[in-house]
């Protein structure tokens, strides 16, 4: 069945460094979503990507959807302590599967 794989599982960075998490699917995705879960909290929707090669930005966050629509990435520029949490990719909405998540910790 469809699987959504996410790497790395953990990432520890110094504040100000960049961070990237990658999401790969075994099948072509019609769309993909990204969520953030703060420690002790619940996942919160960040963005949805639909088009092949799509790039969207939210302040320091850049989301990309691969040309083949089988992979996606989330890049954070100059991380801050408020970026701490676990980032999940998920998709497609018709048959939602979540990646295992990448847990980001930031050292001040």
């Amino acid at each position: 069945g469809q699987q959504v794989m996410q790497i790395p599982q953990y990432q520890h960075v110094q504040e100000g460094e960049d961070f990237t998490t990658y999401c790969n699917s075994s099948t072509t995705l019609s769309n993909i979503q990204w969520y953030k879960q703060r420690p002790g909290g619940h996942p919160v929707f960040l963005i949805q990507l639909v088009k092949s090669g799509e790039v969207k930005k939210q302040k320091r966050l850049t989301f990309q959807f691969g040309e083949a629509k089988k992979n996606s990435s989330l890049h954070i520029t100059a991380t801050q302590t408020t970026d701490v949490g676990t980032y999940f990719c998920a998709g497609p909405w018709e048959n939602m599967r979540f990646g295992a998540g990448t847990r980001l910790t930031v050292k001040p």
């Binding site: 996410q6 769309n31 979503q33 969520y35 909290g41 619940h42 996942p43 919160v44 929707f45 949805q48 999940f88 998920a90 909405w93 939602m96 599967r97 979540f98 990646g99 295992a100 998540g101 847990r103």
Partner: protein, 112 residues
């Protein structure tokens, strides 16, 4: 505005005891509803989803069941809890015509 509620927030139950977790959504009608389980430090496992009253789809065969007695109410149940049922249970809803999942605050279940 729309809100989603889950209770209880935390629960400690002995092995073999029954379970009932409730999720309600306010301010909307005919939402799609979902139950997920998240083991400590792990990803989200979809357990059940519902597109309408009395319509339940199960993703993972296990000792859990779900029911949707009302449009905005989703219940997760078990007759006998197992140790492996421990985890963070999240309810989510998707507005009609949307694809974004909005999660409730979750229930932390510990089975001893």
């Amino acid at each position: 505005s729309q809100t989603i509620h889950q209770w209880p927030a935390t629960l400690v139950q002995p092995v073999g005891s029954p379970l009932s977790l409730e999720c309600t959504v306010e301010g909307t009608s005919n939402p799609n509803l979902y139950w997920y389980r998240q083991a400590a430090g792990r990803g989200l496992q979809l357990l059940f989803y519902s597109v309408g009253i009395g319509q339940i789809s199960s993703e993972v065969p296990q000792n859990l069941s779900a029911s949707r007695p009302q449009d905005r109410q989703f219940i997760l149940s078990s007759k006998k809890l197992l140790l492996s049922d421990s985890g963070f249970y999240l309810c989510a809803w998707v507005p009609s015509g949307s694809h974004t999942q909005y999660f409730g605050p979750g229930t932390r279940l510990t089975v001893l």
